[in-house]
């Protein structure tokens, strides 16, 4: 063989070997992608393993998402009106959005938290805070509808909320934007010493879930940012991070970033209870709204309360301590065993893991490093247990997998870092896209996490999906945490900005879901339980239409006698008792969105016609094969006319009742 042939043979062999390597590498990559796809694939007709509840941020709602598929199941109207179903527009739901400032159609939802029993989500309710006009809502997990909203007086920027204690004794609320308390007109540059915050505790009735404001602790005017309550040994305490201990009132990004350490406020709520019992509190009279939905009456009610119990720390020693924590800490997280309290110092590369035991010891031995407006500041070295060094850039939040590991989200370096609670040793990192805020492991802030996935809730989306103009949805990434290495499984857009989220196994609540409202138990004062009860009643300028909806007609579907200047109330009862047969209701020219009426439910649309004419109304939810025929007319006559007052429908004709 000559040299040329040898060279050719070697070359060919090399090319062949390289192609094998290339094919092999491609196969591995395909296998990984296939592996990920299998892990998130929920076959058609089958269910997701977890219900996840994602706050909607500036949409004021709460998204229900299935995991691992990432499918959006529902968007629950909480602090914002929801044109989809008329929430916040109908007289039945409007009272839920009442505040001491009147009716508010919007807020900013941040931190959903499931009710807990023994430190574990129990699937009864989920709470969520409103940041802008301080409120806390309770959402019933049977109906997945907002059941109650309580306003938080003497506060502003309700951010460290709505975190619950081990047995849902209390929900936290707190002040991110300190204000003059009680509110008054003073120059803003007199912030220092005059502006204050409160850390509030909302009592939850263990049977009904009904919320009431138990007490508020008046605290110095720092920015109270996030909270979490203790578990196990630390169950009597709740922890609140703070920034702006500089008490800056302008250009906070610089002026509130000067101290190397800010504080975690440790609040002993048992001690607060004692002080309340001993009368060591002041009664303030700032009005606040308390709103609740009556399931039987299908109607919300609102009351204004003008009394709150305010604890001043100096009158109740032992109720609050400050733990120094580097630097402008954002999230505060408690290990599942309740032994460690972690401050996620967003402007520091080192996180401090505080020991609850050491904290108690430091309090007992009075190891104080001074005080802030009379609140003892504990000695940092006496409380800190260990540090997580060089964890990442911009650590914000931490969740646990229940196997001894913590997972920290890093905003600046766009990654999730896995480390050991006990030692602070970093074991794994994974990039996320982009700039992750909160992260969520099902039950990841509870005593017993279901540590299968972590969901990254990212603030920046950019190029992750097909572009949709300047405004993009936020993005979430689902990551498998069952192995030694975290594995990215799925990337999906979310509605609004999901700050925090919660999740629990679907099996816990799936079979308890309400399918209908029982018509027999409908105690709505304007309910019409059968077509024979249909009527139209005039009370001066008010016209009440007692209307029914069933496949595929309204009764009445012809209404004559309405005059310009009347206010017409369409009280529509959906007579169906079958699952997933809602009817919609909309009227031409009405200044409110449609109603989406569930089977057995009664809802009201209020309409003030302004011009004479004949106006159609119709069913907006495609309910049946003859949905298109589900329509009717209202005749509107001039104000000075004298039209016949009649109705038709269901093959009958009736006369109005005039009261």
């Amino acid at each position: 063989m000559n040299k040329g042939r040898v060279r050719l043979a070697v070359l060919l062999a090399l090319v062949a070997a390289l192609s094998f390597v290339a094919i092999g590498a491609r196969k591995v990559a395909t296998k990984l992608a296939k592996d990920a796809a299998q892990k998130v694939y929920v076959p058609p007709g089958e269910y997701d393993e977890f219900y996840a509840f994602l706050s909607g941020g500036f949409n004021g709602q709460l998204s229900v998402v299935g995991l691992p598929s990432g499918r959006t199941l529902k968007n629950i109207g909480v602090f914002s009106v929801n044109p989809r179903n008329g929430y916040g527009y109908s007289p039945e739901t409007k009272p839920l959005l009442m505040t001491s400032h009147g009716f508010l159609p919007w807020d900013d939802t941040h931190h959903p938290e499931l009710s807990m029993t023994n430190g574990v989500p129990d699937g009864r309710w989920i709470f969520i805070n409103a940041n802008n006009t301080p409120r806390v809502a309770r959402i019933d997990l049977k109906y997945m509808e907002t059941a109650e909203i309580i306003e938080i007086p003497n506060s502003a920027g309700n951010h460290p909320s709505s975190f619950v204690t081990e047995n849902t004794e209390y929900i936290t609320a707190g002040t991110r934007f300190s204000v003059p308390l009680p509110q008054r007109d003073i120059p803003i540059d007199q912030y220092k010493g005059n502006f204050k915050g409160t850390l509030s505790f909302i009592k939850v009735d263990p049977d009904t879930g009904k919320m009431s404001l138990a007490f508020q602790i008046l605290v110095p005017g720092f920015d109270y940012d996030l909270a979490h309550c203790g578990k196990g040994p630390s169950k009597d305490w709740c922890f609140f991070t703070s920034y702006n201990t500089e008490e800056a009132h302008t250009l906070l990004e610089i002026n509130a970033s000067q101290h190397d350490k800010d504080f975690i406020a440790a609040v002993n709520w048992k001690r607060a209870e004692e002080c309340i019992k001993e009368g060591k509190y002041e009664t303030w009279h700032t009005p606040y709204a308390h709103n609740w939905y009556d399931e039987k009456k299908h109607m919300a009610f609102s009351e204004i309360i003008k009394e709150e119990k305010v604890i001043k720390p100096e009158q109740c020693p032992g109720v609050i301590y400050y733990i120094p924590t580097p630097k402008s800490p954002h999230g505060v997280d408690v290990s599942p065993d309740g032994r460690f309290i972690l401050g996620n110092g967003k402007l520091s590369a080192t996180m401090a893991v505080h020991s609850f035991e050491k904290m108690l010891k430091a309090i007992k031995e009075k190891k104080f490093a001074g005080d802030a407006y009379g609140i003892p500041i504990l000695d940092y070295d006496a409380v800190v247990d260990h540090h997580v060094k060089n964890v990442c850039l911009g650590p914000l939040h931490t969740e646990s997998d229940g196997k001894g590991y913590a997972y920290t989200s890093c905003f600046i370096s766009s990654e999730i870092v896995k480390w050991k609670w006990e030692t602070g040793e970093i074991v794994d990192r994974i990039p996320v896209y982009y700039s992750v805020g909160h992260l969520m492991i099902p039950g990841g802030d509870s005593a017993k996490p279901w540590g299968k996935y972590v969901l990254a809730l990212n603030k920046i989306t950019k190029d992750r999906y097909l572009p949709t103009g300047p405004e993009l949805n936020q993005s979430a990434q689902l990551i498998d945490i069952t192995g030694d290495k975290m594995q990215l499984l799925l990337d999906f857009p979310t509605l609004g900005e999901p700050h925090y989220a919660q999740a629990l196994p679907a099996s816990m609540i799936k079979d308890k879901q309400a399918k209908i409202y029982n018509l027999k138990e409908n105690e709505h004062p304007y309910a019409t339980k059968s077509e024979k009860d249909v009527k139209v009643v005039r009370k001066g300028n008010e016209v009440h239409v007692y209307m029914t909806a069933i496949r595929s007609h309204f009764v009445p579907d012809n209404i004559e006698g309405v005059k310009v200047g009347d206010t017409v109330y369409f009280h529509v009862t959906n007579l169906e008792q079958d699952w997933d047969i809602p009817h919609g209701f909309a009227v031409y020219g009405a200044d409110v969105p449609n109603l989406l009426i569930m089977p057995g439910q009664t809802l009201t649309l209020v309409w003030k016609p302004e011009k004479p004419g004949v106006y159609p109304f119709y069913c907006t939810d495609f309910c049946s094969a003859l949905h298109q025929e589900m329509q009717g007319y209202v005749r509107v006559s001039p104000a000075d006319a004298n039209p016949p007052m009649i109705w038709r429908g269901g093959g009958k004709e009736g006369k109005w009742i005039v009261e």
């Binding site: 990004e253 610089i254 002026n255 970033s257 000067q258 402008s328 402007l347 850039l393 600046i412 370096s413 766009s414 990654e415 990039p431 996320v432 896209y433 982009y434 700039s435 920046i460 950019k462 190029d463």
Partner: protein, 197 residues
Amino acid sequence: MTKAKMPLLGRVLVAISALIAISAFFFPLWHYYLEAPQYREGLNMWIWLHKLTGQVYIINDLNHYVGFMKITEEMYWEFKVLPVLTVILTLWGLWVAFTGSLRAFKWWFGYYILYALFGLVDFYYRLWQFGHTVDPRAPIRIEGYVPPMFGEKQFMNFLIRSEPAAGFYVLVAGFLVAALALLVTWQAGKARRGATA
């Protein structure tokens, strides 16, 4: 013997060198490339003789967290002086080529060396100054970080790559041609000296 003269080839090369130098106005001298998890597409900044281009406003916006100075053309007098020095380099070079004065050529060549040294040393000084003049009140505090002049360097979440760009190579080419002119002139001088001896 009258004043020493350059050989024709040397003069032509000097003229070429001078013209190459002025063409550096049309290309950026240096390129900065920043990459971070949330900037996978990267951020670019190009430094020219007389201006800055690229996403300087985004870089400045990011820099304010750590208190770096805002990068602007106004902040650096070099953007006014370098163009003048370059124009001088070219005009002077053309004059050298025109007169063919050996003495003037040597001075001009020396000027080219000083011009290059000044550019590089001043650039490094500016990088050092940039890293050591941070706002002490910045939210995130950093310790003396000097951006790389050549190659890659990690800074927080950014990988920063710095490399010469076309304009720099143009100037290098100009200098090499000038050096070639020097070589040609030197060899011609040697030959002449050999012939006289």
